[in-house]
Symmetry: D3
Subunit: 136 residues, 6 copies
């Protein structure tokens, strides 16, 4: 159970309604999901977070499907249930196939495994890899 | 400092050399990075991990660059320094541009922020999102 | 569902009852919450944990509300549902307002974002900041 | 070693200089720390992150020292070295004493311990605590 | 709710059935738990993961009970509910007593606490400990 | 660099010396490692933490080597460098062989992988496993 009351559109103050309207217009949907209704508990956080998400998730050098999959990868690693479900939904909407979902989770699992093997052995960074990470 | 001695090619037993040879052939490089030289401390883990990584990172429904970027996203979230550097290097090699790196890290940062906002407010999952996550 | 049976007061051995009595006396309440009833599965852990929590959460150089908010910040970052709910309750009891809750979670979210940006870019520590962290 | 080149003031494009100027003016310092010089690799992330941090960390319902200590709590839990050092420095500057630092880390440690005990026993949330978290 | 449909034996393609048969034969049980039915969504991940788990969890230099307890320790630290329950079940089956469960969780809690104290103070590694970690 | 000055024996107040003496006597060594010298910054945390560690790590239903390996598993999962090194050293001292180290890290890696697969697919807990976790 959420620790605050969801702020519904009809009960929302004007600055919250403005954000809800922009969410619905940007996403071309006619409803607002619970994440935003919880954030509306603190209107400055609602507004700032929505503006950041809108900017970060817009098409750019990476396409929206790739961005949604990266979002899922982080959410799975952090075990944020709401975020896993909502961004898997977002990735589906952006065109993710069943095979892509399977490969996405396989990479996430493998990365979590090798992260711990690298940590566990305290592996030192190769000078060549450090240079390559710089793009040289 | 690594907690085990790196196993160099010249000192490696045959089953380790076979893995090193396959790593170099698959990646078309003439050297083996420290991660594998540490894992060679325990040859069954070296062999199993390499075979898993080779399968998971091969082109499939997702292209190799997307897979490398997902790997970076997980490694950044876990703060695995070796993994961040080595997979940023891998992503660069697979064609990641500076702009793509900037957007990748922006999404990773934002996902970590909203994960905590969702957790902090204990937001409940919308039934519509749950259906959408199933692809319905 | 908990993986052990909650130990109720009436069924508890004397060393467990002594801890329950101290919890109720210290907190001026007439009931014991499930966390302690689960820990009572292993009486030495119950006793040690309660004594540590009592010492750590007592008023000192930081006031109890600040301590509860720090506890919430950690619990949200770790996504421990029980801990988020119980320490949000504790912070409310210690006087946390709705506006303070909103700001607390905003800081927690932002810290999780910038933690990943710092990790992702592998930012090196400035010498001036290191000195300042020492209080110089 | 950072995976991108730090953007120094003299080499920075105008939109980056504008952010650097605002950082120095807001904080009343005459230098910019490496975190921002790394983010300047991707100017939209630099600008968005600075504006968010400035808003979130401003005095409000919580005072700046409490906000810095919450930031440290999150950074320690995530083990982000840069963030631990920079926000410990920030907390010192905002007046944190040695005794407060000691208590802060004691709470962070204890919260991480009890988070795992609650998770490990899979303790169920008490109805009374859930109500109290709502402020009732 | 899982984000994919569980693949039941009767509906499973031959390569999935082969894995299910091996799971049941290896574990001497007549059913397959949900984890594998979810992974069957992506048959290569099912097969690779099962073969890895079978190899890693087989008796070797560490006995199966110790391995299950290590699995629980990781799962508690990550707060993976499914994994905590399934590997606590596995550890019980391998002979874990109530007292061992109590001590296991006490160590996990303590390790999570001291991990943060070491991080928080940014303690430097003693040269003697580094040598001892190498076995010297 | 640590954010506080290490408290050396010769400069330590009596209550700190008493803890150092007990650490050396209990472990039968003639030196104190940096972790404790950092905690001595806040004497109540030093005393409480040492007494807890001494109690938790003492032989009981689990032997000391198993406890050290569980400590390593948690520290690797959290990526606490100091803790990985110091508890690998502790495990070596308690008799851990190279083969046991290899298997330990293999289990830790695998657990981190399957934790994310279980999270990613949001697998629901089987009723049979829940009963088995209770020891029934």
């Amino acid at each position: 159970m959420a620790i605050v009351k969801m702020v519904e559109y009809d009960d929302a103050p004007p600055e919250v309604r403005a954000v809800y309207d922009d969410i619905m217009a940007t996403r071309r949907v006619d409803w607002v999901n619970n994440f935003w209704k919880a954030l509306a508990h603190h209107p400055p956080t609602l507004k700032r977070t929505w503006e950041s998400v809108k900017q970060v998730m817009a098409p750019g050098a990476l396409d929206p499907l790739v961005k949604e999959m990266i979002y899922v990868a982080v959410s799975v690693t952090n075990n944020c249930e709401y975020c896993i479900v909502s961004h898997t939904a977002g990735a589906r909407k952006a065109g993710m196939t069943d095979a892509q979902l399977g490969e996405l989770l396989a990479v996430v699992g493998m990365a979590n495994e090798t992260n711990r093997l690298a940590n566990g052995y305290q592996v030192e960074i190769d000078a060549r890899l450090a240079r390559a990470a710089w793009g040289k």
